[in-house]
Every structure is written in C-alpha cells, then in structure tokens.
C-alpha cells in the first residue's frame, strides 16, 4: 500500500525532469548559434574579469550552514514527537520542552558570541 503510493512519486520524479529539458532542447534546436569572442565573455559589469572565480569564501557562510544543520537535525527529531503528541501526556510536553530549550541555549550562545551578525 505504502509502496504503491510512492510509485506515484517515482513516476512524477522520473518525468518531472523531462518537462524542463524539452523546452531547453527545443531552444537549442530553434535558436541561432553564433560564437563571438566578446559574447562568450563572462559578464561582470563590462569589466574584464580578473583572477580566479573559484576563490575562497567567507567563514560566515560556513557558520550559518552549521547552525542550519544543527537545527535541521533537531527538527527531524521533533517531527515524530509532534505526530505522537496527541497520544501522549504532559510528560511528552516536558520531554519536548527540555529538548527545545537545550536548542535555544545554543542559539543564545551563538547570539551572545556575535555569530549571528552578518559581516
């Protein structure tokens, strides 16, 4: 039963990628193609590009990604908790509350340390 439901998802995902591919292929077939030295330049506001594109990024982005990862994993644990919530008593609320408050502690630490400031 459950697998049968997922068969629809499989069917959808296996054709969903064809939908954008079709117009792009049509585009390639229909549109003109003329190469040009200047045309194929990288567009950086008209100025010639300097240096390597794939350079170093700021540490800031990495920190955001780590915080997101931590929150993401927490929420994965909270989904079953939320689904089962109606079937459980006050103890479940306390369990969830402790879980969430520990997470908030981490957020407050990040806030105090200035990890949330965009630089």
């Amino acid at each position: 039963m459950e697998l049968n439901q997922w068969a629809f998802v499989g069917a959808l995902l296996s054709i969903a990628w064809l939908l954008p591919v079709a117009p792009i292929v049509l585009n390639i077939l229909l549109a003109p193609r003329r190469k040009g030295e200047i045309k194929s330049d990288v567009y950086e506001c008209g100025v010639e590009t300097v240096g390597d594109t794939w350079g170093q990024i700021k540490l800031q982005y990495y920190l955001y990604a780590i915080m997101f990862l931590v929150f993401d994993v927490e929420m994965v644990f909270l989904f079953p908790w939320a689904v089962a919530y109606n079937a459980l008593g006050m103890g479940a609320f306390l369990a969830g509350a402790v879980f969430i408050l520990l997470l908030i502690e981490g957020l407050i630490y990040a806030w105090r340390k200035g990890a949330l400031e965009w630089q």
Partner: protein, 180 residues
Amino acid sequence: MELTWESLAFLIFSVLSLGGGLAVVTLRNLFHSALMLMLSLFGTAGLFVLLVAPFLAAVQVLVYIGAIAILILFAIMLTRTIMGVQTTYNSQWIGSAIAALLVFGLLLLTFTPLGDDVFDEQLSANLEEDPVDDVDYVTVEEIGIAFSTRAGFVLPFEIVSLLLTAALIGAIVVAREDEA
C-alpha cells in the same frame, strides 16, 4: 528472480548510489565529487523508500542532501588551495587494493551463503523468502511515542539535543577563535 517493478526500482537506486559513490572517489574535481555524493545519497533515500521507511527517506534528503552536502560544498569552497590541485595521485594503491579486497571478502562471507560453511552457522539472510512482506512497519507515531516515554528512549532523546547544542557551541568556538 522475476523482474517486478520493485526490483527494477531497486536496480535503479542501487546503480545511483553505487555509481555515485564510485564517481565521488574517481572524479578529479572536488565540486563534481560533492555533487555525485548527493546523487549517491539520493539513491540511498530511494532504497529507504523501497524498505518502507519513508520517514528515513525524507530525513535522508532533508538532512544529508539539504544540509550536510551543502556544508561539504561550503567546506570545499573554504579551502581555496584544494580547488586548484589537479593531481591527487599517491603511491598507496597497492595497500588500498589489498584492504578493499579483504573488506569485500569479509562482506561476501557474512552476507552470502558462502560463509555459512566456514562459520558453521547461518549468518546470511534467507534469499528464498521476501523479508519485506513480513516485517511490521514502524510508523512515525510509534517513533514519536518511543522518543517521549520513559519506557522508550526519552533520555537518549534529550542527550541528542545536548549533543547538538555542544556541536553548535563547539563550531562557533572553533570558527571564531581567530577573531577573539
């Protein structure tokens, strides 16, 4: 074994996860490797679906592809020098080949009937039956009840939160050390 739709899907997802894994270690471009890792993880998510563990499949996509893979991409971009390195050969391929063969042999012994004679007991799964049909599926609600009752896993549940908080604090301490 006859070809059902499930076995066809299993074949596709296996190819995705194994082929993706192979591409991760063979591609020279680190960014491409990371993308292939995502493909491999996606294949694994499909395998979870076939095992009727949809919750795990969704978690696989949400956490592994949506968060960890992004983190890996960021990490690759952070380390500028790695992007420029073209030759990453080393001379340890003999050792790694032996290690890989050993691991593969052990897996063969434990997971296939070959090992039953060696160890003199049945370790391998019985391939004649279709085990997926007899298993009681665990619903998400049952997982939730297990998380928040004392008879279940309420203490590990809280410790997970503690661990994640520690990870968050640790990451901030390490990352901001140079500025403090």
